[in-house]
Amino acid sequence: MVLEATMICIDNSEWMRNGDYSPSRFQAQADAVSLICGAKTQSNPENTVGILTMAGKGVRVLATPTSDLGKVLSCMHGLEMGGEMNLAAGIQIAQLALKHRQNKNQQQRIIVFAGSPIKHEKKALEMIGKKLKKNSVALDIVNFGEDEDGKPEKLEALLASVNNNDTSHIVHVPAGQNALSDVLISTPVFTGDGEGGSGFAAAAAAAAAGGVSDFDFGVDPNIDPELALALRVSMEEERARQEAAAKRAAEEATRQEKGEEAQPQSDSQNATMNATEKASDPMDEDDALLKQALALSMNIPGSDSSAGDAQMSEATNDDQEFALALQMSMQDGSKDSSDQSDVSKVLGDQSFMSSILSSLPGVDPNDPKVKDLLASLPSQSEPQEKKEEDEQPKDDK
């Protein structure tokens, strides 16, 4: 939760009319900006954010660094595109604006959205970078939009001359299905602030995935991150329990061939697996949930223990065979391993599933996590629906 004053430099040049980021580059940029403003003010209430536009008639400061989020967001309305971006002037004027911040204890940071071609020379950019470094201003560059020759090199050179102890970052966002803001959430632009920033990002992702979680756990990421984590984990366990209960009917038929296992063995395993689950990264939990839901329905080894927990308590009352089958699947070890026979069984469906996934907005089939899921994918239609259900709320965010 670094105390920071941030100036965001927006590119509102003619190049932003392009639609290769949905719905248009400018709109994607605006969404990303509002997200960043929210993240900054959330991570520390004393943070201030300001905005300026770099193109048009000239560099224009829309809002000087202020902690009033409403004012900043309202500045973004009614912005017009046109002209060419003046990167050098934009950064220099942002630096001047930061010089006049009210709280001199705030760290200075500039976030630049570079969407159009850069007409400045590398040397000029490096000079600016050195001046920023001298005044201890950190710089984050979001390279998106136009992809001309030499643009990444110029930006990298600028970053190298500004960078001091790795406080400055650059993010290259290629055009594609992913929204600009979604890509940015996982980058150091958001999480570079440390715990506070990542808490917001993780909470936002969890909210998107669950669609239910309240921020009113009591201002969790700011005050008590461990409590927030524990609350989030228990909520997800509850959700998983309910999901598993709903799927039990369809799974019973497929579990007939499983053998017998002793019950007490798996209890101790449950304890250890619970511990490992609690320690896992919040960002992985969404995928873990997904995997666990799919694994449960398709009898694949490595299913998560918390769902197994729920299964266990209900199974002992109702279905002995089901309980035994579950224990056996949990005993089979690491999360990512998959049974040889299962893989061969599922290979036929992989191409079908990847085509389904690529049509889903926000899902990148080349993502390694998605690839793992594909590898362990069922052929049933019901788990597919569950998976799409889980991913739709993620996208709605």
Binding site: V61, T64, Q92, L96, K99
Partner: protein, 174 residues
């Protein structure tokens, strides 16, 4: 802001600018405290009233202003500060409006036209007053300017800042 616009629907060309002593004192005092031995200049807003072509400047305040010494096109004026400050001034004297801005100069600079354009957002025909904070000779330490748009022979629009001159004034009076 809306009040100003209804009063000056047809911006009457300004003929006379009267600067009251409080303005001169506060500008010089501020300059001496802040930028006395530096090459920086102080910029601020002028408040007052405008009536039948005469502008009465009755109050002023400085605004945070920063410019790059080497590159005149790089400058920053905190307009949020100005808007907050003006709304507070309005509470104690609703008759005072923004009539223009001042600079301690001592001369006109290249970005003055851009800054002047910024003040067009607040008043239809702003006045620029250069206050000479270190006068060498006796006389009125102020020079007032306003901007004109001219269309040149090759159909280009040129905006330039021209001074009020005593010659002009006497002509209009006659």
């Amino acid at each position: 802001m809306d009040v100003i616009k209804t009063q000056q629907i047809s911006p009457r060309p300004i003929e006379k600018v009267i600067v009251h002593p409080l303005v001169l004192l506060s500008i010089v005092d501020n300059y001496n405290r802040v930028a006395k031995d530096t090459r920086k200049r102080v910029i601020g807003v002028l408040l007052g009233t405008s009536f039948k072509g005469t502008v009465d400047v009755t109050n002023s305040y400085a605004v945070p202003f920063e410019e790059d010494e080497k590159d005149p096109s790089i400058w920053f004026l905190d307009h949020n500060y100005h808007e907050s400050m003006f709304s507070m001034f309005k509470r104690i004297n609703a008759k005072e409006h923004v009539v223009g801005w001042y600079s301690t100069g001592p001369k006109l600079r290249e970005n003055d036209l851009d800054i002047h354009r910024l003040f067009h957002n607040y008043v239809p025909n702003p006045v620029l007053v250069i206050i000479d904070v270190q006068p060498k000779e006796l006389g009125i330490p102020t020079k007032a300017y306003y901007d004109v748009e001219e269309v040149k022979e090759d159909i280009t629009l040129v905006v330039k800042i021209t001074p009020f001159s005593p010659a002009n004034r006497s002509e209009t009076l006659a």
